[in-house]
């Protein structure tokens, strides 16, 4: 890997439930992105988008529909399914291959035109053994949560506190979907979904388009004074059968170790300045923090209690409000990149963390109880 890849601009859609159709929403966000650095569509080297057919308003082969709206007309472009961090990584690869100077990454999901998320996630299950059991992302997460609480003595209140913290952070993020001050009691008394999960511990269904412009090192320095650099990544899939997996010790620990090694990070709990973690279920932020090495095993609850992960703590986690506040399913990984970028370039506005940020972590997950995990490390 010779050259470095830098992020030179980021654009996000707002509000979280948009009136525009998907084509307009994609057009406006990509246009805003290119205008920020004065780049014409013709100058963009390649485009990688992220969208899934099942989260795509009843249209199959997602990128066929929004191709020209994302600037793809007569361009060498491609698409990643399921997770927009895949698209981010593929765009980095396209630049590092030496074939392209710049790459635009666009992630989109219009949750308001889709069925309920779990109507879709139940279709992840194999059709013969698991699907008839009613397994979906939420019921799988409930199993994981119960195990997590019992094994490490994590309390319901600690899990609910994640929602309180993240929705509170979202109050300061103009791009967030659910923005409100709530109490632990309100979270625990919200509608039971799959015991022990209540409605407010589960992520909503949001609309969202995010676009990120990447450039090779020399080009990045020409386009902006403060590029954010891609420093490390890793990703892994777990086995598909839930019963074959250790839900408290999945792939995330090894993914994190590999990403830190690539980025030259030795002690993540002191070297990572801010983390944007995908927590579609509140307790997962605690579990993922442990597996990301931000605290000791079983210490997720204490980490939260200490206030370290608060907006102005020593290691803020999800200052944007996270996935609990905004869940444009496929786009949520690239939202983490976008939010890490705002923090690194001190452009997060009211939710800018109260410390100097040199290193940020972006994480995404999909599948039952974290079957797929991806971690990206960014730095200034």
């Amino acid at each position: 890997m010779g050259d470095r890849v830098g992020i030179v601009a980021v654009a996000e859609s707002t509000p979280a439930i948009a009136k525009e159709n998907l084509m307009d929403a994609v057009y406006w966000v990509t246009k805003e992105l290119l205008d920020k650095v004065g780049v014409e569509r013709e100058e963009v080297g390649t485009i990688v988008t992220a969208a899934s057919d099942v989260f795509h308003s009843g249209i199959s082969c997602a990128n066929s529909y929004y191709w020209e709206a994302s600037g793809g007309f007569l361009k060498n472009a491609s698409r990643q399914d399921a997770d927009s961090l895949f698209a981010f990584l593929y765009a980095c690869m396209r630049i590092l291959s030496g074939h392209f100077e710049t790459a635009m990454v666009v992630a989109l999901t219009k949750g308001s035109e889709n069925p309920e998320n779990d109507t879709v996630t139940s279709l992840y299950a194999d059709p013969f053994y698991h699907r008839p059991l009613g397994i979906n992302e939420t019921t799988a997460a409930a199993l994981q949560m119960r195990q997590y609480m019992e094994h490490y003595g994590i309390s319901l209140e600690q899990c609910a506190m994640v929602t309180v913290k993240n929705l509170g952070n979202a109050l300061y993020n103009p791009y967030a979907h659910v923005r409100k001050r709530v109490t632990v009691d309100e979270v625990l008394r919200s509608q039971p979904i799959a015991d022990p999960l209540t409605a407010m511990q589960c992520a909503p269904k949001s609309d969202g388009v995010v676009a990120v412009l990447l450039a090779r090192e020399d080009k990045a320095k020409k386009l902006t004074d403060n590029p954010v650099w891609f420093r490390g990544y890793s990703s892994a899939m777990d086995t598909s059968t839930l019963g074959d997996r250790d839900l408290l010790n999945g792939m995330l620990s090894q993914v994190a170790r590999r990403a830190y090694a690539m980025a030259g990070i030795v002690d993540p709990s002191t070297e990572v300045d801010v983390a944007e973690i995908s927590e579609p279920y509140a307790f997962q932020e605690l579990l993922w923090c442990e597996q990301l090495g931000l605290c000791p095993e079983g210490g997720g609850g204490r980490l939260l209690d200490s206030g370290i992960t608060g907006l102005h703590g020593r290691l803020p986690v999800n200052p944007s409000g996270g996935v609990l506040a905004t869940n444009a399913y496929v786009a949520r990984g690239l939202y983490r990149i976008a939010e890490a970028y705002w923090q690194l370039t001190k452009r997060a506005g009211e939710h800018q963390v109260d410390k100097t940020v040199h290193t940020a972590l972006a994480h995404s997950t999909h599948g039952f109880a974290g079957q797929s995990h991806t971690v990206v490390i960014l730095g200034d």
């Binding site: 899934s52 199959s60 990128n63 929004y66 007569l74 472009a77 399914d81 590092l96 899939m237 079957q371």
Partner: protein, 388 residues
Amino acid sequence: MGRSVAIMGTGQTQHGKRFDVSYPELVKEAVQRALADAGLSPEDIDGVVAGTMPSMMEGVALNHLYLADAMQVVGKPLLKTETCGSTGMSVAHTAFYWVASGMADVVLAVGYEKMYEGDSQATMTTVADPWIQRSFVAGAPGIFAMQSNMWIDRYHIPEDRLREAAAVISQRNHDDAFDNPFAHIKVRVSLDEIMNARIITYPIRRWDVCPNSDGACAVIFMSESRAQQMGRPAAWIKGVGYRGDESYLGDSDKVRWNTAIDAAKEVYQQAGIINPRRELDVAEVYNPFTFMEMLLYECFGFCDFGEAYDLVLQGTFSRGGDLPCDPSGGVLCTNPIGATGLIRVAEAAMQVTGKAGTHQIDGARLALAHAMGGVSQFNGLMILGSDR
């Protein structure tokens, strides 16, 4: 540009109606064959690229989750590339860029489809937007018939001779499939039967159309240093090109089809090809419809516009001709869509490494592989060669 990348192993399933295996078993069959062909074990793979058609095809969403074990990707990074019909080619491109970037040395590309689990034409109709195009787009034949008719009209192609040329293409592919152990449809048909078969969508008749197939394909991509350590013939990637059109059919010219023309220019430029018909030894053109195969010859510069039918009748694109096309029997005889583009790449790699068996083109050293997709939107190509 970038690091050189080679294909060091390919694996295909027995394509066809595979009610004997589950979806994961089908995928595993191709993956195991690719690993065996390359002499590798799963631990040697750094990452996996997977691709398929929309979830509606088999009724499993984000099916890399379901097929993770079959693809040997547990504990490893995965990318999931999907671009409709051109998915298989885009999967190959992703594996290429991944290795060329230096972020991995050995990447396994897997494309798969189990089309007898669902209704492929119903699925493909949902590719069109629900408001304007969907109500009149009748699956793939409707779109490609329209494109073929525009082409016939533009160049005043004589219909009787074109009909005969399409029959020659159909018969050639069906005959060639007998030499491909993995091919699905193996039927002898006469020119007369082909020309008088029932009409599907004018001008497309029964034998001008590809089948539905169950099938998977796996291909192993390697960095230059790792490939050279293997000490065996490699298929080197000489060019990678891709272009996409707008989603509305009427918004762009589908005869002088810019996505096909520009994607071909991109690969020829990278591979240093000036006269493709003379320089290429074999081409695996994505040919789900006979008439489209001829239109693509013209877009790829194998001949001038309006000329293909005449050259087909002269045998230019048959075995023994200037540029043999689809000696595997092509998409016309085997079409597990998510795998189909990758099968073109695998077949091209087999040709330039002398591993194509009874459908080997003697002395093939430079090959073209192609796939298309979307609502007549996407074209992706790859050039493979025996020499780095």
